[in-house]
């Protein structure tokens, strides 16, 4: 398998994003949740993973787990304040998120965090991973978590949402 030379499909002229955009991501989740409920918010997350992130899925399908690792290394390099270790093994890619940049920034600015915010990582990533024959398992949350990207064929037990903490 080969890994694309450009692990992120969309690139900017700046090396890092603007952290205040985390305010808008949190506010978007709150807007959808308040108006339409959790099922619609989860549909939004799945649709984002399936549609907006389709180019990422295609890279993962082509490049397999090395492409997954390359993606997340480049991704967190561009997220200000992230402290994340990307561990690549033969059968999984594991993200050890020691400092979630979004939770960190929201807390630093005393923003009310949508309690189910950490679930979005599961729903978006699962929708990104599925077309590539992969699946994700997340444990922890609320500022630090572990995310494992594994092959669907490994037949691991499904994601238990109670393994993902509420954010505050």
């Amino acid at each position: 398998m080969t890994t694309s030379a450009a692990p992120l499909p969309y690139t900017d002229t700046k090396p890092h994003g603007h952290a205040d955009f985390y305010f808008a991501i949190n506010a978007t989740f709150r807007f959808i949740l308040t108006r339409f409920g959790l099922d619609t918010l989860r549909r939004y997350w799945r649709d984002m993973g399936t549609n907006y992130h389709k180019p990422v899925s295609e890279r993962w399908l082509q490049g397999g787990l090395p492409a997954v690792a390359a993606h997340w290394r480049a991704f967190f390099e561009a997220e200000p304040g992230a402290e994340v270790e990307v561990i690549e093994a033969s059968d999984e890619v594991r993200l050890e998120v020691r400092t979630c940049p979004m939770i960190k920034h929201l807390r630093e600015h005393q923003r009310e965090i949508v309690p189910c915010l950490c679930q979005h990582c599961y729903y978006v990533s699962e929708a990104m991973a599925a077309p590539a024959g992969l699946t994700v398992r997340i444990s922890g949350g609320n500022g630090a978590c572990t995310q494992r990207f594994i092959r669907q064929s490994q037949n691991e037990p499904g994601q238990q949402l109670d393994q993902i903490k509420e954010a505050a």
Binding site: L8, P9, Y10, T11, D12, T13, K14, H16, G17, H18, A19, D20, F21, Y22, F23, A24, I25, N26, A27, T28, R30, F31, F36, T40, Y44, D47, M48, N51, Y52, F75, A78, E79, P80, C100, P101, M102, H109, H120, C121, V124, S125
Partner: protein, 184 residues
């Protein structure tokens, strides 16, 4: 995780997702409620409390942090921005991203209601190519928008070659809503 590095990409994608869910009214409600009154509450608080001074305090660091190439002109009666390279529209253009019909409307979608709350009206044009200008005046000030070069001199974006191109030009006059525009 949903990141801030490519924020403008999934933000623009979200407009179209919301439009398909609840139509144009839901998109404009999103810009006001989620962006103006929630995400940008720091800007709303500054500008409603401090007027022009609040605009300086908000847009000074924000435009720099976002990587905008812009020029600001402030007098006692007007706050003007000439945007020569919009960082968010530029991101979309460079990456070939367009789901929603007019991404540029989102700025008036949140800034317009904020200015209304703060007692200001907005004259504004955007050319859909990453260039635009804004003039904020107090609502009771009936002064017409400036002519090209009149307020910001050579920094006036309207003096750029290519300011008027093939894309439609959207114009807002004394506006506070994203739909208060004419396209030509």
């Amino acid at each position: 995780m949903t990141g801030c590095y490519d924020f403008c990409g999934h933000y623009e994608w979200t407009f179209e997702w919301l439009r398909q869910l609840g139509g144009h009214e839901l998109v404009t409600a999103y810009w006001d409620e989620a962006i103006n009154r929630d995400a940008q509450v720091h800007a709303h608080t500054l500008i409603t409390a401090k007027g022009f001074e609040g605009m300086k305090e908000y847009w000074g660091p924000t435009l720099a942090d976002e990587g905008a190439v812009s020029h600001r002109t402030v007098t006692d009666t007007v706050f003007r921005i000439d945007m020569h390279e919009c960082p968010s529209k530029g991101f979309l253009l460079r990456n070939g991203l367009q789901q929603y019909a007019d991404y540029c409307d989102h700025c008036m979608g949140w800034i317009g209601p904020m200015m209304k709350d703060a007692g200001f009206v907005v004259d504004h044009q955007h050319n859909h190519c990453g260039q635009c200008w804004w003039e904020m005046r107090r609502a009771e000030d009936a002064t017409a928008p400036s002519g090209p070069g009149e307020l910001s001199g050579a920094e006036d974006v309207r003096l750029r070659p290519g300011w008027v191109g093939d894309a439609p030009m959207d114009t807002y006059q004394r506006a506070t809503k994203p739909d208060d525009k004419t396209s030509a």
